[in-house]
């Protein structure tokens, strides 16, 4: 491992929770302004997590603790692999493992809220994972590799130009992955409530804090995926990330919660149609 890689790993592990927390704070502020409120301070998510670490440890059983830490570990690993410019498919599988541990932790408790929340989280994973795979396949068809380092070194124009529809599909997947409205059916953010708190109902105190930090890593990972679509220019990459995340917040605020029966068919048909349209376009270009 050379020095650049070492720096990338250290930055990924230590800087991304700071960045993710800031993004969460800005998210809450912007959401409040969109609703005509003043909103909490930007550093509010950090206060929340610190407070949670100061709370009493209350657990239903020890599986929960294990699952919370595994969820954190898997999310850190996805960000580290992304920073090391590793294989997209490997990152995808690690991401899936993290999601599954969150669900197992919720299923370990007997509370009906966390049970139903866990089932819904599984359905959400079932919905967004094929979409993300389709996006990765599109990147492979266009750039000729699943490895991010090879994409960055061999492909010299923004992926967004040839994969615009797949970027929309990724946007769909991100809304589901970040559990934002209209797809906040397994759990919800801010002051919203769904099934009390869905999958997170039974996590409390420091373990909820661990899950919150994992979510920050998750946010950074997802923004990293968006950054991949404009890897040639740093300024345009930042613009793309900001515009995408603001779009997510806007969608979060202007839509009402949907049922999973609506989410699954619409995300799949829309996602599949747009993906295949984009594949045909790539093929036509190659021919």
């Amino acid at each position: 491992m050379n020095t650049v890689d070492m720096i990338a790993v250290i930055a990924a592990v230590f800087l991304s929770p700071l960045l993710g927390g800031l993004v969460a704070g800005i998210d809450r502020k912007v959401t409040a302004r969109l609703q005509g409120r003043y909103g909490p301070p930007i550093l509010q998510p950090f206060y929340d997590v610190l407070k949670l670490f100061g709370k009493e440890k209350m657990v239903v059983n020890y599986w929960q603790i294990f699952c919370a830490y595994m969820y954190l570990a898997a999310n850190i690993l996805t960000v580290v692999l992304l920073a090391l410019q590793s294989d997209l498919l490997l990152i995808f599988f690690v991401l899936a493992v993290g999601g599954v541990f969150l669900v197992i932790g919720a299923l370990a408790a007997e509370s009906p809220y966390s049970q139903i929340g866990a089932q819904r989280e599984l359905i959400q994973m079932l919905t967004y994972e094929p979409l993300i795979i389709l996006v990765f396949v599109g990147i492979y068809l266009e750039a000729g590799s699943f490895k991010i380092s090879e994409i960055v070194s061999n492909y010299h124009q923004p992926l967004l130009i040839s994969l615009p529809l797949l970027f929309i599909v990724l946007g769909y997947a991100i809304v589901i992955k970040l559990r934002k409205s209209p797809f906040d059916i397994s759990t919800s953010h801010h002051a919203h409530q769904e099934l009390v708190k869905g999958v997170m109902t039974e996590y409390s105190g420091p373990y909820l804090g661990v899950i919150e930090i994992s979510h920050w890593y998750e946010t950074v990972f997802i923004l990293g995926l968006c950054a991949l679509f404009w890897h040639t220019n740093f300024i345009w990459m930042s613009v793309l990330i900001v515009v995408t995340y603001f779009g997510e917040i806007l969608v979060d605020n202007i839509t009402a919660r949907l049922k999973w029966r609506w989410m699954l068919p619409h995300a799949w048909t829309g996602g599949l149609l747009m993906s295949f349209a984009n594949y045909f376009w790539i093929y036509a270009k190659i021919q």
């Binding site: 409040a32 909490p40 301070p41 206060y47 610190l50 709370k55 209350m58 009390v196 409390s204």
Partner: protein
Amino acid sequence: MKSLISKSRVKSPWLIHFDCGSCNGCDIEVLACLTPVYDIERFGIINVGNPKHADILLVTGTVNHRNKKALKNIYDQMPEPKVVVAIGACGTSGGVFRDAYNVVGGVDKVIPVDAYVSGCAPKPESIIDGVVIALGKLAEKGKKVDQGIFERLEKTQTAIMAR
């Protein structure tokens, strides 16, 4: 690190609202605090639906023999440090219902109360005032929790020790 945590406690109180047989007058005023006019989220306060995530328990209405178990249960489910705010004439003393055969009385007959908000129904401003007073108590209790002292109901303490 400890001073950071105790600062954060006051800056991020999550509250849960329990309607203990209120006429809904106080409930409307509690929810009014969350609207854009008062916007208590600017102090980091979030209305959560889950006692396991909450720091402040807002109770409205009189306690009767049926729902005192529910009230105790919710109180027990909240991890320490935690504070209780009794809201309205009924919550603080039982109000006009205090002599009724089915009424136990104010919230403080069942669980320890840290702040009382009078009024029928109290204004949102006075509810926010009550919460602010409770926050001072929350900071004190937080220091105790850091030393390993937990304020629990007697039966809960024995149940935990038995386990």
